[in-house]
């Protein structure tokens, strides 16, 4: 995977089984985020293949790729919430834009917000929330469409240790029965995932 003259990912071969829980570590600009984006089909690799099951993502037509991308939920480092919408509307977004009836979308979004501990924040705007609460909204939005794979890109960025622990517990709780791939700069004790990968300058390194 190249960006101009920079090799972002080189010789990376990873296979992830359904239900597996993977932690991807590495310093800034080591290729974690690019790899996650490739995995979700958001970034086509300049060479090589990304396969979802037996299928090469590059060979899927746009509609089929979009349909299969619905199996992915993503939690972003920057929250990626819309301040112009309420928390409830932000969480409903993946449902309303897919023509899920509004009543059903409201019901599902409320249930997910209750699950992540934000029962009282439905009507608030993201800008009124703390960093940890925003992260919870991001998790709620990522799981509201019931994806089978949850990707989290540096979900603890900018959080204090206690909030970090609570978000880690939340991730572990909502990822039960799902594949979870989390990218972090370093392993953390609060998120003990079974498999750990380490990226070093775009290559897969050894895990100490």
């Amino acid at each position: 995977m190249r960006f101009g003259r920079v090799d972002a990912l080189v010789d990376v071969t990873v296979s992830i089984s359904p239900g597996e829980q993977v932690l991807v570590t590495g310093q800034a600009a080591s290729g974690k985020t690019t790899w996650l984006k490739c995995l979700a089909g958001l970034q086509p690799p300049t060479s090589g293949h990304v396969r979802w099951g037996p299928d090469d993502v590059a060979r899927l037509d746009l509609e089929e790729r979009r349909r299969r991308q619905r199996s992915f939920g993503m939690v972003f480092q920057s929250d990626a919430l819309f301040d112009s919408m309420s928390v409830l509307d932000n969480v409903m977004l993946p449902l309303t834009k897919r023509q899920v009836p509004r009543d059903e979308a409201v019901e599902r979004a409320r249930a997910v917000l209750d699950r992540v501990g934000l029962s009282a924040a439905h009507g608030k705007r993201p800008e009124e929330l703390s960093g940890g609460m925003k992260k919870r909204v991001g998790v709620a939005r990522a799981i509201v469409a019931q994806p089978s794979i949850l990707l989290a890109d540096d979900p603890f960025a900018g959080l204090d240790p206690s909030t970090e622990r609570s978000i880690a517990e939340l991730l572990l709780e909502v990822s039960r029965g799902r594949t979870l791939v989390t990218a972090l700069p370093d392993p953390v004790a609060s998120l003990p995932l079974a498999r750990v990968l380490r990226f070093e300058q775009g290559r897969l390194g050894s895990v100490p």
Binding site: L42, R66, Q69, R70, A80, P94
Partner: protein, 255 residues
């Protein structure tokens, strides 16, 4: 020197390609635009720009008459002020000046908002939850701002002509009825259609240019500022270029 020229040429080619891509994707998404975002864009870019457009209309209308009136009196053509001022406003000054004002108001705002959504990751966020940001966020803004600018143009022309009449009354002593008679007798539908065509073209140019500027933004607050500035500068350049191309074309078409 050659390297600089090459880089400039590449930049122009990239920009043209990006504009064509945004136009094509917007056209493809027309049947399934996000209605809520379209409505929001029309309100944000159109309704909220109305005070500025009306103020511009008042000043443009009055200034055109004050300037044209000097020559109208000098050449004994006071009675034709209504037609001359109306023609100048409808075919040239109205669309051009409104376009420039809206490039600063709507172009900068659209570019800054999209740039902020881009650098803060919201656009990528939509893709991350397998939604198409172009259909949900970008296309409705392009269409909304083009509609808003065209509607503002129509209202602005109407108000500006009224202020031309008032200004003629006070500065040249021309009765309102005489002003509007000359306007009605000599101004043709083609002149109005020509003016609105220019307004629509300028509106579309502002929408496309500002969208491209916003989507290409990188790197935090500096990137957002650069996107807004580029949107205004490139929109103005696009407006002047389109004016140069459209004026002879519309003159041939409508006389």
């Amino acid at each position: 020197m050659i390297r600089a020229l090459g880089a400039f040429g590449l930049g122009v080619a990239r920009l043209t390609g990006a504009l064509a891509l945004v136009l094509a994707r917007t056209t493809l998404n027309l049947p399934r635009l996000d209605r809520r975002e379209l409505f929001r864009s029309i309100v944000l870019f159109g309704y909220r720009s109305l005070p500025l457009a009306l103020m511009a209309a008042t000043l443009i209308g009055s200034t055109v008459v004050l300037q044209a009136g000097v020559y109208a009196v000098k050449f004994g053509a006071r009675l034709y002020t209504g037609w001359a001022a109306g023609y100048a406003l409808t075919r040239e000054f109205g669309p051009l000046l409104l376009g420039l004002v809206m490039a600063a108001r709507i172009g900068a705002r659209n570019a800054a908002e999209l740039a902020l959504l881009n650098v803060n990751g919201q656009i990528e966020g939509l893709r991350g939850i397998s939604l198409d940001p172009f259909r949900i966020l970008v296309a409705p803004r392009v269409v909304g701002s083009a509609i808003a600018i065209t509607c503002l143009g129509s209202v602005t022309f109407l108000v500006a002509v009224c202020f031309e009449a008032v200004s003629s009354y006070f500065s040249l002593g021309l009765p309102l009825r005489v002003f509007f008679d000359s306007y009605q007798d000599m101004l043709r539908v083609g002149d109005l259609v020509g003016g609105l065509t220019k307004t629509l073209a300028f509106g579309l140019a502002i929408a496309l240019v500002s969208t491209v500027a916003g989507l290409r933004a990188k790197g935090g607050a500096v990137g957002v500022g650069q996107a807004a500035a580029s949107a205004v500068v490139l929109s103005c350049a696009a407006i002047f270029s389109l004016d140069l191309l459209l004026t002879p074309f519309l003159t041939r078409l409508f006389g």
